[in-house]
């Protein structure tokens, strides 16, 4: 692993300013955070725990972030009346089985959280590329899979509606911070590498 310093020469000044600002802000907080910050800053300066990131956060579509090939989408939307109960029952029925999502081939994960006494849904996912280009494909090929989940939200126009992109963007909250261990690998890449790895192991088993 390359152990380059995380401090890039061209951004020295702004980085110093940023460090100064973080120090000032942490000084107003608890001592435990302040001393932890100093440890982190020492490590960043020495470069022992940091490397130049392979990717930096950039924007995904109209809103949201991308790291390499992976994008994040998080939305918080109020439940429609009875929506929380319906979704909870549906998720219990599914019991973690979302194998129908495998077909999409670009979804890394999905999570559903119920906020504020079951009044709001928080939905978060990591996926490959942009969703914009595929929205019409989803609406054509898997409309029920999406409508059954999100019709529990207030004002969900339906995946086939021309208003769908605006609804998503309206409720989307872009991440301020986000880590991806494998920004260069899509779901399809990972599945392919699994197949290749298995084949290589079998080959090695045979010749050993």
């Amino acid at each position: 692993m390359a152990t380059q310093t995380a401090i890039r020469p061209e951004s020295n000044q702004t980085l110093e300013q940023k460090i100064q600002r973080v120090r000032e802000l942490y000084a107003t907080g608890p001592a435990i955070g302040k001393s932890a910050l100093e440890t982190l800053l020492r490590e960043m300066k020495s470069g022992t725990s940091r490397r130049e990131p392979a990717t930096r956060m950039s924007s995904a579509g109209r809103i949201g972030s991308t790291q390499g090939k992976v994008s994040e989408l998080l939305l918080i939307a109020p439940f429609a009346p009875g929506g929380a109960e319906r979704l909870r029952a549906l998720l219990e029925l599914r019991n973690g089985d979302f194998s129908d999502t495998d077909r999409v081939g670009t979804v890394h994960d999905m999570r559903f959280l119920f906020l504020d006494n079951d009044t709001k849904l928080l939905f978060a996912t990591a996926y490959d590329g942009d969703w914009d280009p595929y929205i019409d494909d989803f609406a054509t090929k898997i409309p029920d899979g999406l409508d059954v989940l999100f019709s529990v939200c207030d004002g969900w126009p339906g995946i086939r509606s021309p208003a769908i992109k605006d609804w998503i963007v309206k409720h989307q909250i872009p991440a301020v911070g986000w880590y991806v261990a494998y920004p260069d690998l899509t779901v399809r890449d990972i599945l392919r590498l699994k197949r290749v790895g298995k084949a290589v192991d079998e080959f090695l088993d045979q010749i050993s």
């Binding site: 081939g105 490959d128 590329g129 595929y134 494909d137 989803f138 054509t140």
Partner: protein
């Protein structure tokens, strides 16, 4: 028109007398012609030119009887519609990608490096391109006749300037510069010809008809402007024929292997014979038979052993190859009106002669974003949809000498490395190609009322 009235009532009859021939009609054979780009410096002069030109704009009716000597097609960029004095409410109603223009969409279209708009021929990608004219003819005298008509329409209008012109024409045997028979496949537009099960809803290509989603366009406004109109992505490509030949020579073990690699890249042999039907060797009879050279599917080749997943024609028109994926192929069709330009590179020549040669494509549909832009960004310049990582189209991908091309094979796939950029974008524009009544609506606009 009788064959239209005999269709099932659910198929709306196309107003072929109002639709431009360029949208529905295949190029003549043989063909030659000229593309012109015009700038409108004054709205009233622009409308006067349009008034004079409209009688010569070819409608698509009778398009199944290919007997016209030549025709004129006309389309406008967003800047062009502005220059004509189209009302602001109407301008604002156009889709965002059209308003931005092709150059501004470079990041989505993967137009980086040599393909970047900064490297395009002038005036492509600048606000000076307002009107695109496509003039097709079957021979030189006919072309001159149509060109003269176009010239008459603007000769005394000093604010109308020709900012670009180029000739195009057919190469020997109807091949493209790389040596392949081309223009072999286009989607069937429902209602435009003989009934066909494979027909695609007219609304995918023309505004004013139901599309594959069951929707009928409501923009741009007003109806008079959008009815029977289409969007056109114009792309001018340079083709590095010598580089293509050198790459084949370097990668192949024999002349027969060169031909095989070339066919694997395209998905067809040079004759046009599809690999799926002729996996081992070229079959010129098959290639020249229009009844058979498109009658194939990928159902028996789901491993890509005949036609690679990455082959050009399988990417651009996947037919049934993606039927198990969450992709609605019928939302990503467009009509391709391609023409070639420049002299052929003589057979066997491996060094570039410096001549400009390539193709100009008019990619026509009702939805630039989910048609041209989708195919370009998801299928031509990426490989994820076929689990090929970042592998691009071997022929038209934006490969910078680091491209990879995967050929499925038993027991192990063959992979070519160092694929260069064979096709370079020389320029492009997004245009709106209105119906004939819409052209008259444009010509009758009055600046004082806007």
């Amino acid at each position: 028109m009788t064959d239209l009235t005999s269709k099932p009532s659910s198929v709306p009859a196309l107003e072929t007398s109002d639709i431009q021939a360029t949208v529905l009609r295949p190029r003549p054979k043989p063909y030659l012609g000229e593309y012109l780009l015009l700038r409108i410096g004054d709205a009233e002069q622009g409308r006067e030119m349009l008034r004079r030109m409209i009688p010569h704009v070819a409608p698509a009716d009778g398009w199944w009887a290919p007997s016209l000597p030549g025709w004129l097609g006309i389309a406008f960029t967003f800047e062009g519609l502005k220059a004509l004095g189209v009302p602001q409410a109407s301008l604002d109603s156009f889709p965002i990608e059209f308003r931005q223009g092709m150059a501004a969409r470079a990041a989505i279209l993967h137009d980086f490096g040599a393909n970047a708009p900064a490297n395009w021929e002038s005036p492509f990608g600048t606000p000076d391109v307002h009107v695109a004219l496509a003039i097709y003819a079957q021979n030189e005298p006919n072309l001159r006749r149509v060109l003269e008509l176009a010239h008459q329409a603007r000769h005394d209008l000093p604010q109308i300037s020709v900012v670009y012109r180029m000739q195009f024409g057919e190469l020997p045997e109807g091949r493209n510069p790389f040596g392949f028979k081309d223009g072999l496949h286009n989607p069937d537009v429902e209602g435009s010809g003989p009934a066909s099960e494979a027909a695609v809803k007219a609304g995918e290509f023309l505004l004013g008809y139901p599309d594959e989603k069951g929707e009928t366009a409501t923009v741009p406004v007003p109806l008079e402007l959008r009815r029977n109109g289409s969007f056109v992505a114009i792309r001018k490509f340079h083709m590095d024929v010598a580089g293509f030949r050198r790459y084949l020579r370097a990668q192949a073990s024999s002349p027969a292997d060169e031909e095989l690699i070339a066919a694997k890249m395209v998905g067809r042999w040079r004759s046009g014979a599809p690999l799926v039907l002729a996996p081992e060797r070229d079959d010129p009879q098959l290639g020249s038979d229009p009844e058979r050279n498109n009658a194939f599917s990928y159902a028996d080749d789901m491993q890509g052993l005949k036609c690679p997943f990455s082959a050009h024609i399988r990417r651009i028109n996947p037919r049934d190859a993606l039927k198990d994926e969450v992709v609605a192929v019928n939302l990503h069709y467009f009509l391709r009106r391609g023409t070639n330009y420049g002299p052929p590179l003589p057979a066997g020549v491996l060094e570039d002669d410096g001549a400009e040669r390539g193709g100009v494509f008019l990619l026509i549909g009702a939805h630039l974003q989910r048609q041209f832009e989708f195919v370009q960004s998801q299928w031509a310049t990426d490989g994820n949809f076929i689990s090929h990582g970042t592998e691009q189209d071997p022929l038209i991908g934006n490969n910078e000498g680091e491209g990879v091309f995967t050929i499925p094979k038993k027991p192990a796939r063959r992979r070519l490395h160092g694929v260069p950029r064979f096709v370079t974008v020389r320029g492009g524009e997004y245009c709106f190609m209105p119906g004939l009544r819409a052209l008259r609506w444009l010509a009758a606009l009055d600046s004082s009322s806007t």
